[in-house]
């Protein structure tokens, strides 16, 4: 068996073996609940928006229900797998409630099967990333395939940032050959919305090359059709969920801003949360105008995302997965930064929380859960966990900052990559790729087969 297949199969096997027994109840519960609604043809945004209004009315505060606040397309990646599950297990409830602070009721024997089915799309995304990377550099593919952090976020947690990672990687890899595909994949990467910060970069790089810009926007527009649909049928709900909620979130996460979690004053916190947003806009403007056109695309994407990681209000533990494949492709970045968000996961949520599907199988285990949770809550209430969380948050921000400086330094010094500028357009076609496969990648003979096939199939000009 060739090495590429071996890595891919092993990556899939590890994930499939883990997936049925672990979950983050809140996040998997949201996907489960939303899949049910999607299959019933219900409006997910109406549900989330109504819950939010209910909470705001009850509390008198600008609080939000943390439900499905993603691109509408996302749920259609999960719903078919949930549908297959219902063919086997029927329509009965399997996970009841689970939104924080409630604990879910899990119905057996179906819970493990449900978890496996809902995680299959995430595992497929992970495996596709491994496949694409293995076509370029087996060592990097192995790092992604067996990185504990990546495995944890997808197979254990059930978070789907691997989709963003896959589509961002695909957008980058196809950008030199098909702007349409690049736009399409970029649009798909918007499933978690935070890659929206890359749109100005793409626009600036394609500015003046109107045909290519139109192709890119054409691809992007296709992915935005579901958003347009919801904007027509329930404009208030989708606006409330996607814009007001995402825009009005409190800063925090695995970054230097999580100190705000100890400032128990929502109105004040929201005002302070505007500080990084202002800096984000300034930094993006500076980077894009200064380096947007002249730096290689890979480094540009990473630099913009790093700036977002520094000045974005909310950086959750799993977000790094979205740029991890690109980090692996860059010579300037240190991929070991995954350690910080990985540690943070266990400071923010107790490890046993991810084991609910195992612990809920027996009243004895359930008892252990309650005992452990008592200790955890005491640690939380005393403030012991906030200190290491803040330290790790700052450390991660500084590591991101260091990587950003490496990129800026290399770009200014001209060592970041060997961009090839097309004579007619001046648009850089190739960006940094590891030395060992640069020649094949540049002349196309070693180009990843999957990407090639995709491009031939979908490219509007048939190249």
């Amino acid at each position: 068996m060739e090495e590429r297949s071996r890595i891919v199969l092993l990556a899939a096997a590890v994930r499939v073996a883990i997936a049925p027994f672990f979950m983050h109840a809140g996040d998997v519960g949201t996907i489960y609940e939303s899949s049910i609604m999607a299959l019933k043809g219900l409006n997910i945004y109406d549900f989330v928006s109504a819950k939010t209004l209910q909470m705001q009315n009850a509390t008198g505060l600008p609080v939000f229900f943390e439900g499905y606040a993603y691109h509408p397309l996302l749920i259609y990646f999960f719903a078919p797998f949930y549908w297959v599950f219902t063919l086997i297990a029927g329509q009965g409830p399997v996970m009841i409630d689970g939104h924080y602070p409630a604990l879910p009721v899990l119905i057996y024997p179906w819970t493990p099967l449900l978890l496996l089915m809902l995680k299959i799309p995430i595992i497929l995304a992970d495996v596709l990333v491994v496949y694409v990377l293995a076509g370029m550099d087996a060592r990097k593919a192995k790092i992604y395939a067996f990185c504990p952090y990546v495995i944890f976020v997808g197979a254990v947690w059930g978070m789907f940032d691997a989709f963003v990672g896959l589509f961002l990687l695909a957008s980058y890899l196809t950008s030199s050959r098909s702007k349409f595909l690049s736009g399409l994949f970029y649009g798909l990467s918007l499933m978690k919305l935070y890659t929206a910060v890359l749109l100005p970069l793409y626009a600036v790089r394609l500015y003046g090359r109107w045909k290519e810009l139109a192709q890119f926007l054409g691809g992007l527009a296709i992915t935005l059709l579901p958003v347009a649909y919801y904007l027509v049928v329930s404009p208030k709900s989708i606006w409330n969920v996607l814009v007001t909620f995402q825009g009005g979130r409190l800063m925090g996460g695995v970054n230097l801003y999580n100190f705000i979690w100890i400032v128990q004053d929502l109105i004040f916190d929201l005002v302070v949360s505007m500080v990084p947003t202002i800096l984000l806009i300034v930094a993006l403007f500076y980077l894009i105008t200064r380096f947007g056109r002249k730096a290689p695309l890979l480094e540009s994407i990473l630099a913009i995302m790093f700036v977002y990681f520094l000045f974005g209000k909310v950086i959750n533990e799993q977000f790094l997965v979205s740029i991890f494949p690109l980090i692996l492709l860059s010579r300037e970045c240190d991929h070991k930064i995954w350690v910080a968000p990985f540690i943070f996961i266990f400071l923010r949520s107790p490890f046993y929380y991810f084991m609910l599907p195992i612990l809920w199988t027996s009243p004895v285990f359930y008892g252990y859960y309650l005992q452990a949770d008592e200790v955890w809550r005491q640690l939380q209430a005393a403030g012991y966990l906030q200190i290491p969380m803040y330290a790790v948050g700052i450390a991660f921000s500084l590591l991101i900052f260091w990587n950003l400086l490496q990129l800026v330094d290399a770009t200014r010094g001209g060592t970041a990559s060997i961009p090839r500028v097309t004579e007619s357009t001046g648009f850089q076609q190739k960006t940094t790729v590891p030395d060992q496969f640069r020649p094949e990648f540049q002349n196309g003979s070693g180009r990843d087969e999957l990407v090639n096939r995709l491009m031939v199939a979908l490219s509007p000009d048939g190249r």
């Binding site: 509390t59 100190f259 128990q264 004040f268 450390a395 500084l398 200014r412």
Partner: protein, 279 residues
């Protein structure tokens, strides 16, 4: 100055400056006003009391009154907790059988409990000497309220030795209790003054002391004025408390930033030296 140095300097200052936000908030903004956060929890902090009122999805701490000892102002010692889980109005459980909405102005927290046939307001007002919890409705209602503390050594002079079973104490509008705080090695005193004579006051023993005071009354309004104080018995050491976190955050930020700068400055040189030695 090089761009890299300037950016590093800016970012270091940015991190450290922001780390002072909790302290500035605590000192300049957070005192003596109701603040909402989380999923709808409210808290009030002044020099003498810290009062927590949980969000509508939790029936405990409605409110939970803490006293700040003068010798350890950040210690927040639990004084008395009103529980909606275990309180009833007209035989309806306050947590499970009422819709709740909360509104706050800087001084008063107004929690409205609604059922089809009735509306009750619970007002919580904190001053420097007491916390007033008022239940008020347009119509007369019968209520069974439970107030918890783990645990009270004595209530109105009755100790655990005198009451091994739940005991209805002589009717009064004033309930006084004492408690000990092992952590602070101190003795605490609490006092509840009711605005009208209740129908019944019961005290509930639990292992080393009493953990509950239950009050039954029929009225259209009842105010519980709760006050408390702590008195140091031994030589209490300053214990760790959540309230000290705002002071710790700048220390954490400065330490991590300093480590980063040190590694940035000397890390490469050390690495090079180690590489040279090994080769």
């Amino acid at each position: 100055m090089k761009l890299k140095t300037r950016l590093t300097l800016f970012f270091a200052v940015y991190i450290i400056a922001l780390s002072f936000v909790p302290l500035l908030h605590d000192t300049l903004i957070a005192q003596s006003r109701w603040l909402g956060y989380g999923t709808g929890t409210y808290q009030y902090q002044n020099q003498d009391y810290f009062v927590l009122f949980n969000d509508p999805y939790d029936g405990s701490s409605k409110p939970h009154i803490h006293v700040n000892p003068s010798f350890a102002p950040a210690a927040r010692v639990s004084l008395l907790e009103f529980s909606d889980w275990t309180s009833w109005v007209n035989d309806h459980n306050l947590f499970n059988e009422f819709d709740v909405t909360m509104r706050a102005d800087p001084r008063i927290l107004d929690v409205t409990y609604t059922r089809p046939e009735m509306v009750i307001h619970k007002y919580v007002e904190v001053s420097s000497d007491s916390v007033k919890v008022t239940l008020q409705s347009e119509k007369e209602f019968s209520a069974h309220l439970e107030m918890w503390r783990w645990v009270m050594s004595s209530i109105n002079g009755i100790s655990i030795k005198d009451a091994t079973k739940p005991l209805a104490i002589p009717l009064t509008t004033v309930v006084e209790f004492t408690f000990e705080d092992e952590r602070l090695q101190s003795l605490g005193r609490g006092r509840i003054v009711m605005s009208a004579m209740p129908a019944q006051v019961e005290i509930w023993p639990h292992e080393k002391g009493f953990n509950r005071i239950t009050v039954d009354f029929v009225n259209s309004m009842m105010t519980f004025t709760v006050s408390g104080s702590m008195e140091a018995v031994g030589a209490p050491s300053q214990p760790w408390s959540y309230a000290l976190l705002p002071y710790v955050m700048p220390i954490v930020a400065i330490t991590v930033v300093a480590l980063y700068l040190l590694v940035g400055k000397y890390g490469r040189a050390l690495k090079n030296r180690a590489t040279r030695r090994s080769s």
